[in-house]
């Protein structure tokens, strides 16, 4: 047993610690985030008001759950184009179901809990459709979730007739309550986000997610139930999208097919993940990266409006951010490549 295979191959090119830190995507994003906040504040000191930070947290919360859903899916080697429309259809359906409770003056907590459950169920069904198309019919995730996206967006319009569904002023009132700049609504979203991070990076479930995205065959050969895991990931993404639908219902007191979550939301969520350093080929991604990516996108979108840049320009800036993030990632990959 004295054989040593240690000498096999060449040694890995060593990297200076400084370079590792500087090219670390999370570190760069954190610096960018701080710089952006300081920039917007220098242009308009009102940016530092508590109220504005509260708005930032709220807008961040509307994005972060679908961005984390997308992180799970992308790390597992897939893509989900349906999170936005799933949020819309969940919100519309749940709004219709719980409106009778609102009309009968049922306790608001009960209404919101029932609504949350309804949204989660509708979201799970949407995610289940994607999962079915992918695992049973072997569609690639892009096509499968495009189907779910279309069905969801269409159903949301059909059910709502293009108009807001239901009206629940109590929900809007509750959505503003909280401590300081953190509303209860935001706090709940943040707790869910933290749980998702812990599961992704510290548990067996998260480990399997990375393994499948990194090398699906290796994962299967190692005895991991790949199909079952992928089903669960798309259902999870659907549920998180559904919860986002409920989030927008609570903020506006009604469900709408055009809550602003349908069309661009998928792409913004994917942008947050990519800016956060994940690889669309799977196996690579960090919770902290997505959180920071979502934060940067939120600050940019809100900040540009705050300094009177026309909203039409925001997408261009987002595009530039994605480009910079992608370039940074490719630079990092090249600098780490083994000779």
């Amino acid at each position: 047993m004295s054989t040593s295979v240690d000498a096999l191959g060449t040694t890995v090119k060593s990297q200076s610690r400084v370079r590792r830190v500087v090219t670390n995507q999370q570190f760069v994003l954190f610096v960018v985030l701080i710089a952006l906040i300081l920039f917007f504040a220098s242009r308009n000191s009102l940016f530092f008001r508590v109220g504005e930070f509260s708005n930032l947290f709220t807008d961040f919360s509307g994005l972060v759950l679908i961005a984390l859903a997308e992180t799970y899916v992308i790390v597992a080697g897939g893509i989900d184009l349906a999170v936005g429309s799933t949020a819309a259809v969940s919100g519309v359906v749940a709004a219709g179901w719980i409106q009778p409770l609102v009309n009968h003056g049922v306790n608001q907590a009960v209404i919101l809990l029932v609504g949350t459950l309804a949204c989660a169920v509708v979201g799970a069904l949407a995610g289940g459709l994607s999962a079915l198309l992918i695992t049973a019919f072997d569609l690639v995730p892009f096509v499968a979730t495009l189907v779910t996206y279309s069905v969801g967006a269409g159903l949301a319009l059909v059910i709502s007739h293009g108009a807001p569904v239901g009206y629940n002023p109590g929900a809007i009132y509750w959505s503003a309550s909280g401590i300081g700049m953190i509303t209860w609504l935001v706090a709940i979203v943040l707790v869910v986000a933290v749980v998702l991070g812990v599961v992704l990076h510290l548990t067996v479930y998260g480990r399997y997610n990375f393994a499948i995205g990194s090398n699906e065959f290796a994962a299967r050969a190692a005895g991991i139930a790949v199909r079952r895991h992928l089903i669960s990931v798309y259902v999870l993404a659907g549920v998180l999208a559904g919860l986002t639908g409920m989030f927008f219902y609570i903020r506006s007191g009604s469900g709408a097919a055009t809550t602003g979550v349908t069309n661009s939301a998928n792409l913004v969520a994917i942008a947050a993940v990519v800016i956060g350093g994940a690889s669309l080929t799977g196996g690579v991604g960090r919770w902290a990266g997505t959180m920071l990516g979502a934060a940067v996108l939120t600050v940019v979108s809100d900040g540009l409006i705050f300094i009177n840049v026309p909203p039409t320009w925001i997408q261009v800036v987002v595009g530039a951010l994605i480009a910079v993030a992608a370039l940074l990632q490719s630079f990092r990959r090249r600098s780490r490549r083994v000779p």
């Binding site: 295979v5 096999l8 191959g9 067996v204 480990r207 190692a222 991991i224 139930a225």
Partner: protein
């Protein structure tokens, strides 16, 4: 090495047939492997080598035929079942998850969990895995500097060392190695062959698939030749030379075959 045919084979395949759609990949294949024996499985591309090892490991399920481990007939529903039965498989070029650390790869599918409630909630004990991964690799004669490194940061030879180390460390009965010396230089290949020999000394049954006939002749006790999904020759290694083996593989020396 003598092959005592009265001994119970540690792994036996009986009359295995496998189709991919209308293509017959394996036809009535029967093989036996014994503890402390290295079998060479050779054949041209498309001869059915990879299909056969996928039946052994449970990645594919045979259309007919039996898989018998230690005298007990088994049915694999997934690779997990074959692993649980003590059979480890090293797949050609694709057995590792490149984005995971070495330690995570060694424990892939067998993650160590934290103790207590956290473990029951599915929390992994990463530190223990990294530590034990080093020990496990060292036990089979492989020393790797730091197991926290991701596999994508390793050279081809180091990756292969990790993959072989994982397979040998977990195997209780049988280890299947698909082209383990592929893409390796002469010295690295020699080291892999040494690892195979030490696996035999540990009493494992080794099934070694390779295109490199000199490697097969050097390290195996018995050679099984597959052609077009059938076993065409199964004989002690001493009965072969590179030339006769090549002839049997290609079918050009049918007369010298058994």
């Amino acid at each position: 090495m003598t092959i005592a045919s009265e001994r119970t084979p540690v792994l036996e395949l009986r009359n295995i047939t496998l189709h991919y759609g209308s293509v017959e990949a394996l036809h009535d294949v029967s093989i036996k492997s014994y503890a402390g024996e290295v079998i060479g499985l050779v054949g041209d591309n498309g001869a059915g080598k990879s299909s056969l090892i996928k039946v052994i490991s449970g990645v594919n399920t045979a259309d007919s035929g039996e898989v018998i481990v230690d005298g007990v007939r088994r049915h694999w529903r997934s690779p997990h079942d074959s692993m649980a039965a003590g059979i480890e498989t090293l797949y050609q070029d694709s057995g590792l998850a490149p984005d995971l650390s070495i330690g995570s790869n060694i424990f892939l599918g067998r993650e160590k969990r934290r103790s207590g409630l956290l473990g029951r909630l599915g929390f992994v004990d990463q530190r223990a895995m990294e530590k034990e991964a080093l020990e496990q690799l060292a036990r089979v004669g492989i020393t790797i500097p730091a197991t926290q490194r991701t596999v994508s940061e390793l050279s081809g030879g180091q990756r292969q060392a990790v993959a072989i180390g994982r397979a040998i460390a977990w195997a209780k009965h049988v280890i299947v190695l698909d082209e383990p010396t592929n893409h390796l230089g002469a010295r690295q290949s020699a080291e892999v062959l040494n690892v195979i020999k030490s696996a035999r000394e540990q009493g494992l049954s080794v099934i070694f698939i390779s295109h490199s006939l000199p490697h097969v002749l050097e390290v195996t006790d018995r050679i099984i030749v597959l052609r077009l999904g059938r076993v065409v020759r199964d004989a002690p290694t001493g009965e072969f030379t590179v030339e006769s083996l090549l002839g049997t593989i290609t079918g050009l020396s049918e007369s010298t075959g058994s």
